[in-house]
Symmetry: C2
Subunit: 199 residues, 2 copies
């Protein structure tokens, strides 16, 4: 999405919004009217730019023949996280799937759960948890944290400038006590939902 100009992005968003609420893409004329262009060719030029940059496909001779290119479609599933790489780095994306059907917060990605440390609150091995990375971290939240490049899901019990306590929801695990000044520590997000496939 990054190598689009501001104007091109506006056009692209307009096309997406038309598709989602009307059910079909706009014509050149409709784009021009919306943006106040006096010539349909202005829209044509923009479409060509979007095509060139790989964001849409244009079917020639077809009315409203604009298809969105399915790059980056869907919410990414993050499996194993490579050391040092940002959560959403492409190398960590297992695949992409549709949005969470009922999450009341935005979902930035799904994280595949490894292990049984959270089974007492119903988070099992191989479940997908829905993560929002911008929500305010607060005591009692289920948080996704990174400690020295290791990513973990735990309940946040305490949270101050020099002491963080993370608790597993499984009596077999001990609390993790961290001083963020001594180790590399980051909150990666908050768990806002869960998805499980039962086959």
């Amino acid at each position: 999405m990054s190598n689009l100009t501001v104007r091109q992005k506006e056009i692209f968003e307009f096309i997406k919004s038309k598709i989602s609420d009307k059910g079909y893409p706009p014509t050149r004329m409709e784009i021009s009217n919306y943006f106040g262009f006096k010539s349909p060719n202005a829209a044509e030029d923009h479409l060509k730019a979007l095509k060139k940059k790989g964001f849409i496909e244009i079917l020639s001779g077809t009315s409203r023949g604009i298809s969105l290119s399915n790059v980056d479609e869907g919410i990414p599933i993050i499996g194993l996280v490579s050391a040092g790489s940002p959560m959403l780095a492409e190398e960590n994306v297992e695949k992409r799937i549709p949005p969470h059907p009922i999450s009341s917060h935005g979902v930035d990605y799904y994280l595949r759960v490894k292990g049984d440390s959270m089974i007492d609150i119903g988070i099992f091995d191989n479940d997908l948890i829905a993560v929002n990375k911008d929500l305010n971290i607060k005591k009692g939240s289920i948080v996704i944290a990174r400690i020295d490049d290791e990513v973990t899901v735990k309940t946040l019990k305490e949270f101050s400038a020099n002491k963080v306590i993370l608790r597993a929801e499984n009596p077999n695990y001990k609390d993790i006590v961290v001083n963020p000044n001594n180790v590399h520590f980051d909150f990666e997000g908050t768990c806002v939902g869960l998805i499980r496939n039962i086959s």
Copy 2:
């Protein structure tokens, strides 16, 4: 969906499939070509019939101006089930939400879980379980069963002509042993997934 003729249903399905895989609705000509009509007016007539029956909306003067009417969109969430009513009766539908993002089987509806009888396998109070109603019931499956108009979710332990054993996944609950000949008993479906919102 019921008061459509066979032909009309075919047309309607064709329109839906075009929208979902091309991203825009078909023209009269494209419909005619697909069905082998020799006149675009055959398609026009069908569209008018579909409009009259409320399945689509047509925007006049607009190319590909066909919108699906949003009746029955989404997978229903079933909350409390009224005694005697079929699972999917409209009175039982709490709301409708998008499909399960990763379920490998079809999902006919979601059932809102009440109680803690399945917590040992991570199914908690208020979770939504995804139910497929046509899957083969087999030992070990998590099944949705109706016993004398009461709907319950349990693991199927035994299953023969005159004995069914349903087991809760929580040691505080006893097995439910049923003779299908003596009580009103039905399998309503199999649990194929789970969704949870964490707020």
